[in-house]
Symmetry: C2
DNA sequence: ACCACATCGTTTCATATGAAACGAATATGC
DNA sequence: GCATATTCGTTTCATATGAAACGATGTGGT
């Protein structure tokens, strides 16, 4: 029989939504930044400058969402949006000083929060969980391809 | 440094969203039913009749969402919505014949799909994954409570 | 009996979402 | 070169979302 509490797609959704809610509560309250905006920041924290499309590829967000997040961040003075010199369709997104400063304040807090969350698992368990998640994601891609 | 690909809240969200998308594709295409609607059906499949509030408690959905899903299902002729005899605030929701028939068609397919997804893990791995998910969810509740 | 308060489900409202249409810029085929 | 197709990012549009207001019903205290 189908028991929703044992149906993994459902369980995962509940878990993921709760994590998001907890995190969003902190981002938004303390820094006035939404989750999509924070994702853009996090990606730029690793690599800069990037086009919107680069961010779409690295973020699993659709381009409309990225476009809106970028617009907000530019309006908030956190990102600069220049056009690529040799291809005017592309943006060149990078932190302003203010943006980088904010990133450097948030990133450690996000990691620290994650740490507090994950410390209910030991190292082996955490590694297992990540590995199994990756397997499940891989399998999902298989199934998605089969349908097409 | 913060690497989004290694940031579990993000990874979980991506995974959960992809699973939902895959499942929704099947529910909606084949049965004309949304995920919130399907959740209501799944809960009623286990226990009947229930009030909207019962479903809220069992489903991790907010009451507005449940209300809308129930309305759709009633309009589609899949649920009957009677009022509780001794407390007129409560609904008594149960399957119509058509609703039960649909449930009995979908449930095995959902389980079978889950089966195909999860068969990338062996039994031990699956048990581990579920146990670790549960731990993470428990810890999340702890952290949420600390903030309040 | 009455009044204040709580509970149930619906509805309203402001916001978030993503698919698709779009305009601008570039690449490709002929 | 020029017409066509493709890519990039924005905007539009229809829908989904959840917090809060709401009306209806019940409960409890006096």
């Amino acid at each position: 029989m189908l028991d929703l509490d044992d149906f993994l797609p459902y369980r995962l959704n509940v878990l993921a939504k709760r994590v998001s809610r907890e995190l969003a509560r902190r981002y938004e309250a303390q820094f006035g930044i939404s989750i999509p905006e924070w994702r853009v920041m996090a990606i730029l924290g690793r690599e800069q400058p990037l086009s919107s499309n680069d961010i779409v590829e690295r973020s699993a967000m659709d381009k409309a969402k990225v476009s809106r997040a970028v617009t907000s961040l530019v309006e908030a003075g956190l990102l600069s949006r220049d056009t690529h010199p040799s291809d005017q369709r592309l943006l060149r997104l990078s932190f302003t000083d203010k943006g980088r400063a904010l990133y450097e304040r948030i990133a450690p807090l996000a990691l620290e929060w994650q740490q507090r969350w994950l410390n209910c698992l030991d190292d082996v368990e955490l590694a297992q969980f990540k590995a199994l998640s990756a397997k499940l994601e891989g399998q999902l891609e298989q199934l998605a391809r089969d349908v097409l």
